[in-house]
């Protein structure tokens, strides 16, 4: 029997100013910094986001974590608010989380505003992903 630790991957500080505006939508996204990837075999269990500066300027702002092509891949709950400071999070989306884990995966954090991402004028957070490293099994 092997023992497995839960590993964590911590993002850079995700500053509103560095997000990419998905033009014409309420969405803004940012990828983890190059090099901060989930390794091959990472079975993601969930994540937390520590919001140090509120995402302000719109009526709502919610965060989800996934990848470029599957923005809620690691988010069973896609309604966690970053409109206040504090810690929020979600377990991973069970049906998607492990798909494609034969490759290293770059996480993407997406914030959805109430109307238009362009309305959001500030905000900072750090996201931590928790996963089991299955490579050596």
């Amino acid at each position: 029997m092997k023992m497995r630790m839960i590993k964590s991957l911590v993002s850079q500080e995700l500053d509103h100013a560095a997000f990419t505006y998905e033009t014409g939508t309420a969405l803004g996204n940012i990828d983890f910094t190059t090099g901060l990837v989930l390794p091959i075999g990472a079975m993601v269990l969930g994540w937390k986001a520590v919001v140090s500066e509120i995402f302000t300027g719109d009526t709502t702002a919610v965060v989800q974590v996934g990848t470029a092509g599957d923005v809620n891949k690691y988010s069973a709950n896609v309604a966690q608010s970053c409109l206040t400071t504090g810690t929020v999070g979600s377990l991973a989306l069970a049906e998607d989380s492990v798909t494609g884990f034969a490759s290293a995966i770059l996480p993407r954090v997406t914030v959805t505003g109430g109307n238009d991402w362009g309305s959001i004028t500030s905000g900072k957070m750090v996201v931590t992903l928790y996963y089991i490293d299955t490579k050596d099994d």
Binding site: I6, K7, G89
Partner: protein, 221 residues
Amino acid sequence: MKMNMIKKLISQTLDIGDFIDNANTTGYIDFTTGTALPVGAMVLGWKVNVTTAFAANTVYTPVDGSTIAFVQDGGADTITDSADGFVTAGFEAGDVITVAGATSAHGAGIAIVSVAAGTLTLGDAVLAAAEAGIAGVSFTVTSTASVQIGISGDVNKYSADTTETVAAIGTVGSLALALDTVTGISAEKLPRVTVTEGGNFGALDVGSMNATIYYIDTRDD
């Protein structure tokens, strides 16, 4: 990259006598004060070790079996007692009973819809046959008790599966409810264990278990 252990939080012994009866199908007990999930606990799931099956050991033999009749009338079947002993004996609407000692095999899992002194009203066509005057007939309330774990205000917060039985000795469990489990992670959470009995929670006479909750402690990241 950091490493985190999976931690666990173990309840006190959860005995049926310590549960609070919601006066419906459910009863609950909170973990002892001081054994809360800490700030930052990302719950993954839980197990329950049932050491004494949750059961209703009461066997009702109202007055005299010879006064009992099993009645089929084309609609809701009934069991009648010409000695009017049902209420006194303790039957309650919602109880699920097993009949023993009858001539016909009425079987188990018969739900009582309503109770009057002389009549148990059942569902439609649930009795095997009409019969009367059977000395020695008896009724046992059958437990269908199941367990879920959450908190006050969200009783299934940590339970993707809310139908795990505690009606038998053994170990059961569930992964957490992915949608809810991390919500409110910024505050301590006092776990609540809820047992649901198919009839009435109050019908349960015995039962004991302990619960263990597994979580990632994210505080130090």
